[in-house]
């Protein structure tokens, strides 16, 4: 199928609608009801990172989430208007040592653990693109 694309301003008020939309996409693709919140947490974490690190929380800058449902997987693409590398943007490992008690920086760790595939790359225009693959069983 051709991807379906949604664009959101970089502001916190869109997070709950994004969460609801992602769960609706998962439901349409027959994701187990128990796994819907894991799917939406993973995608919302990546949307929040795009807002913060790619768009610097500028509400004029958009995050684009597109998805394609295939017979065995859903593919989400999360694009922002900046360029950043996840490890560089985080600068620390939130699950280790003194950083265990950091109040932030766990989003990518959580997304990578909940989703089966999360990959950071670039759009053809050179902006950050995160690809998340959710297998369908």
């Amino acid at each position: 199928m051709r991807p379906i694309e949604m664009r959101f301003p970089s502001e916190a008020s869109v997070l709950e609608p994004v969460q609801q939309i992602i769960e609706a996409v998962g439901r349409a693709a027959d994701v187990d009801e128990e796994e819907l919140s894991s799917l939406s947490v993973a995608v919302v974490e990546l949307v929040k990172n795009a807002m913060e690190h790619g768009n610097r929380n500028d509400p004029e800058k958009m995050v684009t989430v597109s998805f394609s449902i295939f017979p065995n997987r859903i593919r989400f693409l999360i694009d922002d208007e900046g360029t950043w590398e996840p490890e560089k943007a985080l600068g620390f490992n939130p699950g280790e040592g003194d950083e265990l008690l950091s109040t932030r920086g766990r989003g990518i760790l959580i997304a990578r653990n909940l989703a089966k595939w999360v990959e950071f790359g670039l759009t053809p225009e050179g902006k950050t693109r995160v690809t998340l693959i959710w297998p369908l069983t």
């Binding site: 916190a12 008020s13 997070l15 709950e16 969460q19 919140s37 894991s38 939406s40 947490v41 919302v44 974490e45 929040k48 939130p94 699950g95 280790e96 265990l100 008690l101 950091s102 109040t103 932030r104 920086g105 766990r106 989003g107 760790l109 959580i110 653990n113 909940l114």
Partner: protein, 113 residues
């Protein structure tokens, strides 16, 4: 998201309900821990049983609460984390920091005198 506070003995039980999804309302959660310390309530039990959805932002304020209470010589413990929230505690290794309970009385008793 809603926040409810209730004293049970000398333990302040804070109950969150609904979605903990980020944004300005998380400041209210952060504040509730600081206010607990300001009122000399240093034994705090956070009940997450009615939280329907939570991500790293929620974990961030819980860690902030832990730090606030620990620095004041107190403790923050977790009650009724759902299966999904418990999974987040495991992924982030926060499970090594927090005492978690499924029985309220057991949690209250764990604070001691």
């Amino acid at each position: 998201m809603k926040i409810k506070e209730e004293m049970k003995g000398d333990v302040l039980v804070i109950t969150l309900s609904g979605k903990v999804i980020g944004g300005p309302e998380l400041i209210d959660v952060k504040d509730v821990f600081q206010k607990a310390v300001d009122r000399d309530h240093r034994k705090v039990l956070l009940d997450l049983g009615k939280v329907s959805w939570m991500d790293s932002s929620g974990l961030g304020v819980i860690v902030s609460g832990h730090t606030t209470l620990s620095r004041a010589g107190g403790a923050l413990k977790i009650l009724n984390a759902t299966k999904k929230i418990h999974e987040l505690f495991i992924i982030t290794k926060l499970i090594t920091i927090f005492e978690t309970f499924t029985d309220e009385q057991e949690a209250l008793d764990s604070f001691g005198d």
